[in-house]
């Protein structure tokens, strides 16, 4: 369980990360989704990606390394091709030993919006255009088709990954002066934004619906549309609040919550709710 510490023990800023470590993390960022799962999505992969940096930053203080690893294992999901942007900013905050709540909030606020941007760049633009052209070359029997596809796609991908890493790491370092001069106010504002984004995620990423119907002659009563009439995305909101309550007030561990959801899911699947 994540501990409730809000500050690192050693508040002295670490040496800025060198180019080699940053590059190493760009390479690791390819495997962001290695341990993808439904609960925390890319969380453990995210931690894996930034570990080389964290080890450098908190190398002198094992307790701080543990703290950092714990809070970087919380829910994380962003666009896999744009993740180095979040990495750069978070690492610059870690390097300055910023307040943990601030790092968490900045991380959450940065990861959300990237999803839509990445989809637009890669899946709606780059792949359809490149694949459209090269697929016809392949159908014509040319081996250049797949080769060209790989070269273009990965050329763009790596350029973006490396550029975002160095750019956002610098950006984070520059913004830090303003932050530290008004640390308490900044932490509060960042938390506000973080909570706001989690609220948006609850609707945007919450897709749970039920297909329960009550037989009523010609026009069956569809429960989901009644729920939507009261409040759209009511189920995602209710479930999030329920789980929040169970964890905060009843001290449930995430594992218990997952087991509960699996039972709900399978029983619901059996009786035809989902």
């Amino acid at each position: 369980m994540a501990s409730n510490a809000t500050h690192y023990n050693d508040l002295k800023p670490a040496q800025p990360l060198d180019k080699k470590t940053l590059n190493k993390m760009v390479w690791r960022s390819l495997n962001l989704q290695a341990s993808f799962n439904y609960e925390r999505m890319q969380a453990a992969g995210w931690l894996y990606c930034i570990l080389p940096g964290l080890e450098k930053i908190h190398g002198n203080n094992k307790e701080d390394l543990k703290l950092s690893m714990e809070h970087n294992l919380e829910f994380f999901n962003t666009h896999p091709f744009l993740v180095t942007f979040v990495m750069g900013i978070v690492l610059s905050l870690e390097q300055q030993k910023t307040d943990i709540n601030t790092i968490r909030s900045v991380r959450v606020a940065a990861m959300g919006p990237l999803g839509g941007i990445g989809d637009a760049i890669f899946w709606f633009t780059l792949v359809p255009i490149t694949a459209g052209i090269t697929a016809n070359m392949a159908i014509g029997g040319s081996i250049a088709g797949p080769i060209l596809f790989l070269l273009i796609f990965n050329g763009v991908q790596f350029a973006i990954r490396f550029f975002l890493m160095s750019w956002s790491y610098k950006l984070g370092s520059q913004a830090i002066e303003i932050m530290t001069a008004n640390a308490r106010e900044f932490t509060r504002a960042a938390s506000m934004l973080g909570v706001f984004v989690v609220g948006a995620l609850t609707s945007n990423m919450g897709g749970t619906t039920i297909k329960l119907e009550i037989a009523n002659g010609e026009s069956p009563i569809v429960i989901q549309s009644i729920l939507d009439g009261i409040l759209p995305k009511m189920i995602p909101l209710a479930l999030t609040l329920l789980l929040f309550f169970l964890m905060k007030k009843k001290n449930w561990k995430p594992v218990y919550c997952i087991c509960l959801l699996i039972v709900i899911g399978i029983v619901g699947g059996f009786i035809g709710i989902f």
């Binding site: 899946w123 459209g132 596809f149 796609f153 934004l193 948006a200």
Partner: protein, 269 residues
């Protein structure tokens, strides 16, 4: 068509690689256009592989893994379509249709793995508590390895069992559809545990309003077609404006309070 041992091993290796590649590595090797050519080359008919791969790619363009939604697994679809086209000389459309049950099976394995990896996160928490960096690295590689092996098994199964196995798989998956539906629904709900964990730490009592405000704005944008794709970006704009306003106001208040109470430097002029 009979396959020799080397061909079977090479297909298994490629299936292992692209099984992982669909989420990691280059995230482009798995595309049918590449996979078709590779499988064609392995089975000794590069030309057919290229044609099948290209055709399937055009079919799959409208089927990208957008926003984390899973397509009927294009990875196994690509491998098996190429296998069937090369081995049985089928047209691409027919080969893709024969590959379908295997693609469904591959998707089931992905769902199962993503579900099974969720409780594993508690083990990851323990590793983090101990500061075990190597453990975290191993956990990630292990999960990648399992995914690759599962995909290799499905593809080798398809190679040896052919379309007959496909029919059996289809019947099996139809029969247990409710189970996978339920598991899929549970998978879709598990992210709420992740959200709740974040809120548990971030949400002090005076911030509740912002949680509901973010939710409300996202609900509105999600339901408008023109803004649905950029919901998170647009909500972030609004959130940033609110947060910046709060930041600037509070900084100003503190600075004024400082000069008023204590008689700051300016007062001494």
């Amino acid at each position: 068509m009979q396959f020799n041992a080397i061909q079977i091993i090479l297909v298994a290796v490629w299936a292992f690689i692209v099984g992982i590649d669909q989420f990691d590595f280059l995230e482009s090797l798995y595309q049918p256009i590449v996979t078709g050519a590779v499988i064609g080359a392995i089975l000794g008919d590069l030309q057919t592989g290229l044609v099948v791969g290209g055709t399937y790619q055009l079919m799959a363009i409208g089927n990208m893994p957008v926003g984390g939604a899973q397509p009927p697994n294009a990875v196994i679809g690509g491998v098996m379509a190429a296998v069937f086209a090369v081995a049985s000389g089928l047209e691409t459309e027919q080969a893709v249709a024969l590959a379908f049950p295997f693609a469904v099976m591959g998707q089931y394995f992905v769902t199962l793995l993503f579900t099974a990896m969720s409780p594993m996160m508690s083990a990851a928490d323990k590793l983090a508590e101990k500061g075990d960096t190597k453990g975290i690295v191993r956990l990630n590689y292990l999960a990648m390895g399992i995914l690759g092996v599962l995909f290799a098994i499905v593809c080798v199964g398809g190679l040896l069992g052919g379309s007959a196995l496909g029919t059996t798989l289809q019947e099996f998956s139809d029969k247990y559809q409710w189970f996978m539906d339920g598991l899929g629904a549970a998978g879709g709900m598990m992210r709420f545990v992740g959200f709740a964990t974040l809120l548990r730490i971030m949400l002090s009592n005076d911030l509740w309003g912002f949680y509901f405000a973010g939710f409300a704005i996202a609900v509105i944008m999600d339901s408008i077609e023109a803004t649905a794709k950029s919901t998170l970006l647009l909500t972030a704009f609004i959130g940033i404006a609110i947060a910046m306003y709060d930041f600037q106001t509070r900084v100003a208040i503190r600075q004024n309070a400082g000069s008023g109470n204590g008689g700051g430097d300016e007062d001494g002029i």
